[in-house]
Every structure is written in C-alpha cells, then in structure tokens.
Symmetry: C2
C-alpha cells in the first residue's frame, strides 16, 4: 500500500528513537519492529542501515542493531562542529534575511520570552529548535544544513537533559536575542560571533554536566 515504504518506515523509526522510545544500547529486534511498523524485514533492514549511516543506530556483526549511545564527550565534539556550521549559517542568514524572515525570527524570540517567564521548559526547547531551524533555512546552505541535521539528531538526548538544567533558559535566552538582533541588523560578523558564543556556552554547560556526573 505505501508508495515508498522505506522512507516512511525510516522516518517513523527515527522519530521513535529521537522521542526516546528506545533506550541507548537497547537492541532493536527486527521482528518486533516489523510488527510495530507493519512492514517486512527487508524494508526494516534498509531503514536500519540508513539510520546506521546517519549514526543513530549501530550494527554489531551477527548481533543486529542497537540504538547508538552517544557519550557526553562525543556530544561535546559534535557541538564543537555545530559552532562552526551554525556560525556560518548565521552569518549567511544575516546577509540574506528578508523583512518577513526578520518578523518571524522576532516572533520566535518574543514567544521565547513568554514561555521562559512561565517556566515552560518543553515549549522553550521546542522554540529553540524552531529558531535554529529558521536560521538554517534562511542561511540556505544545503551542505551545512544536511550535516547539521545529522549532528543534531545524534545529540537530542543530551540537548534534552540540558534543557532541564535549572537556570539554563535564563542563560540562553539573551544569547538567542543577540543572535536575532545581529541577523535582523544584517550584520554577518556579529551574527556569527553571537551564534558561536551561544553554542560555546552549550559546550561549557555539557562540560559542567560531565564533571558533575564523574565525581
């Protein structure tokens, strides 16, 4: 029935993993997943291989697929690369932003202030993703965007645990404001700097988590 079942199943499986329905290191038994997604082993295997290529799952020979466990150290490495890529996109966004783009960015920041005032952590996390996504789109750099999506998928779990750190929104909100201000002011250098500062503080927050976890 599905016209392109492979892509459909891959996407469904990705969403399930990103939603945390499968714990890291958990074995992904093919038969079970077949039943859940109503597909055959062949299709499901293709989906697993695609996700493996994107670093979301890993294969062990004769032991099947597992959800890949991205360590905190690796999340830091990934964020270090994100600094570069998102910095580039922010700079380009500042060069290319239109009036309606600017209005959208400001609207997101406005919503952010609202939800931070109400301490709605989940909504803030969602707006955070929307803001970064919008900047990615405005930046219009296919290669950087594609890589960023891969990297982001691998760190959602850590990103989520960060968003629960008390006082974290109070730190990142002004940074987001600075990024949007620089982009709407069409100042590429300032936009790149603001984005780098922002993600650098994410790296430091990860490092703080890291030392907190290993006494």
């Amino acid at each position: 029935m599905p016209e392109d079942s492979k892509a459909t199943v891959t996407e469904a499986l990705r969403v399930a993993i990103l939603a945390g329905e499968f714990a890291p290191k958990q074995r992904l038994v093919e038969i079970d997943l077949c039943e859940r997604f109503g597909t055959s082993r062949f299709i499901l295997r293709s989906a697993l291989q695609e996700l493996a290529a994107q670093g979301l799952v890993e294969f062990q020979h004769n032991r099947g697929a597992r959800v890949r466990d991205v360590s905190l150290a690796e999340a830091i490495e990934i964020t270090e690369v994100r600094i570069l890529l998102e910095g580039l996109l922010a700079a380009r966004a500042a060069e290319r932003v239109t009036r309606s783009d600017a209005a959208m960015l400001r609207a997101i920041v406005r919503d952010m202030r609202t939800v931070v005032a109400k301490s709605e952590l989940l909504a803030y996390s969602d707006l955070n993703a929307r803001l970064h996504g919008a900047i990615r789109d405005i930046g219009a750099h296919e290669t950087a965007s594609r890589l960023l999506r891969q990297l982001r998928d691998q760190t959602v779990r850590h990103q989520f645990s960060l968003s629960l750190v008390p006082g974290r929104p109070a730190v990142s909100l002004p940074q987001h404001e600075a990024i949007v201000a620089a982009i709407t002011a069409r100042d590429p250098d300032a936009a790149e700097r603001a984005m780098r500062d922002h993600l650098q503080s994410v790296v430091e927050a990860f490092r703080a988590l890291s030392v907190a976890a290993t006494p």
Copy 2:
C-alpha cells in the same frame, strides 16, 4: 569466504567510483556489479545504500542507483564547509603535534617541493591528500574527521580537475608550507588562518573554473 563482505564490497565500490571508473550519472546495474565484485545482489544493494547515505551515489525509485553528479556549485559549498572543519583540525593539530608528527609533516612538504619542481602533478595530488590526512589524524577530532572524509569523497573529481590547472601547484605549495610551519610552531591561530586561506583559494579556483565553463 569473506568474513564481513558488506564492508569489503562497499570499500571496493567506493574506490572504483573515486577512481572515476564509473562516470557521473552513469547507471550502476546491480547484476554487473555483482559479477565484478563476486558477490550477491543483497550485499551489493547494502553497499549501494551505504554509499547513497554518504552522497556518492543516488537512488531513483524503480530506476536503481547512479553515480551522483556533484555540481561545481555544490563543490564550492562543500569546500566552504571544509574551510571550517579543516581549520579546526589544523588548530587542534598545532596544539597536539609531537616531534615525530612534525618530522612527518616536514617530510611531506619536502617531497611536495621535489615533485612540484619536476611537475609531477599526480604525485603532488597524492601528497596533498597525505598532508591533509596527516593533519586530520594529528587533530584527533573524530566527528570532524568523519564528516571531512564524506565531503572529500564527494569532491575528488573536481579536486582532480583543479590539480590539472596550470600553475595551481605554484599557488598551493607555499600555502601548504605556511600551514605546516604554523603547526610545527605550535601556533593554533596561525595554523587555522593558514588552512583557511589555503582552502579559500581553492574556493576561488573553483569559482574561476565556474566562470570559465559558463561563457
């Protein structure tokens, strides 16, 4: 017989594509490849899917796999990202370089001077790859290295055509010397700057090719 045939076949197919044995847009008929690599369709298909995930081949529904044709514009985008990633690696390499690393880098540059003097373009292209690879290893940033390898594979064809441009080595040799000098001097900022300048000139060389090709 092969213990892990999938990885083996994938690698062989990648090498064949990178060596230009299959032209861009050329259809990759599964049966033919099966015969060539002595494997089954299932294994070969897995290999194709992995290479598709890495952007070397592309699938069209019910029309099989083709060698992906990376446009010059895309090669420029990719190199823009390489500027960032290789800049990071160069800076880290400058922080982590050992005496034996430094000796190896200097040896590569020495060989480069020799082959440039003799106008051995192919050997220079090879040394170029070795130098960037060595810096990647010294930099020791798993995430950046992995992404770089993907990006590099996608642009080998354009990289090759660049290496044939007359006078190109004369431009890039001093840049390589500057990079190695900064790394062996343990100066991260200078190393990053030198690497960025080098790859920026690659971008400009691509742009020159681009306007030359479209009158």
